[in-house]
Amino acid sequence: MDATEAASALAEIQQRHQQTLRQGSPRRLPAWFTYGSAGGLALASASNDATGWTATGMILTAAVAMIALAAAVERSTGVRLRMRAQRWTPVALFAVAVITAMIVVGTLMRLYDVPADGTIAGLAGALVWIAAMGPAQAAASTPRNIA
């Protein structure tokens, strides 16, 4: 064992780490996931404008759709990253942006007695979701050394 062999083994470890990180958290998520999950969010928010079983059904449909889409992305990459291998700040900022948009728009709609305020707030959140997901995912996928 010499220094060259040790250096190449360390480089291999590092390179393979990064390879899995890139695979598990691609810089660009598939469009079907972005739009599908935005639809799920809008549907969940729109359930505020419905009552009874309809509202429950909408929430459940949205939840099932979101989980199925997340599982499908995971199946397409073949990798589930460890929690600590990912950058969570961009994800948290993304969530804050979406929730803020929904709260602000929803509050304004209620203030002016606009009907279907939940649906409109959900659409606003979905627009922010679609617009912000790309940059947030790009920032979250920046390689992080966990070795």
Binding site: M1, A6, I13, H17, Q19, L21, V79, I146
Partner: protein, 113 residues
């Protein structure tokens, strides 16, 4: 150059294909068999053989559900990989340290620094 093996050096993990596999598994909660096969370019049988070796050592856990197979690094495997990486760094550090190569230094020649 030295043949010394620092503490933590793991002969089993140092084998190139196995080192690649555990390094691929390290950042993941689990990966699919197909990902490991594509990443390493190994055949199904060669990959199975290496994973079985790692599994026997307690470093990797393989799960099969229907046609889907996934692999994950166990805590023991993660610890062994970290120890191995540490040993490799120590080996590199020793190689860069002139006191370990026998080169003359002010300290061992008595010359002023």
């Amino acid at each position: 150059m030295t043949n010394a093996r620092p503490a933590g050096f793991n002969e089993l993990l140092h084998f190139p294909v196995r080192l690649s596999l555990v390094s691929l598994l390290a950042p993941a909660a689990y990966t699919e068999f197909s990902y490991l096969r594509e990443a390493t370019g190994l055949s199904d049988s060669a990959l199975s053989k290496q994973l079985t070796t790692l599994q026997d050592a307690g470093y990797v856990e393989v799960r099969r559900t229907g046609r889907r197979a996934t692999a994950r690094l166990t805590d023991t495997g993660r610890h062994a990989l970290n120890q191995h990486a540490h040993a490799l760094r120590a080996l590199l550090g020793n190689a860069l340290d002139p006191t370990h190569t026998g080169e003359p230094t002010p300290a061992n020649t008595g010359e002023p620094g």
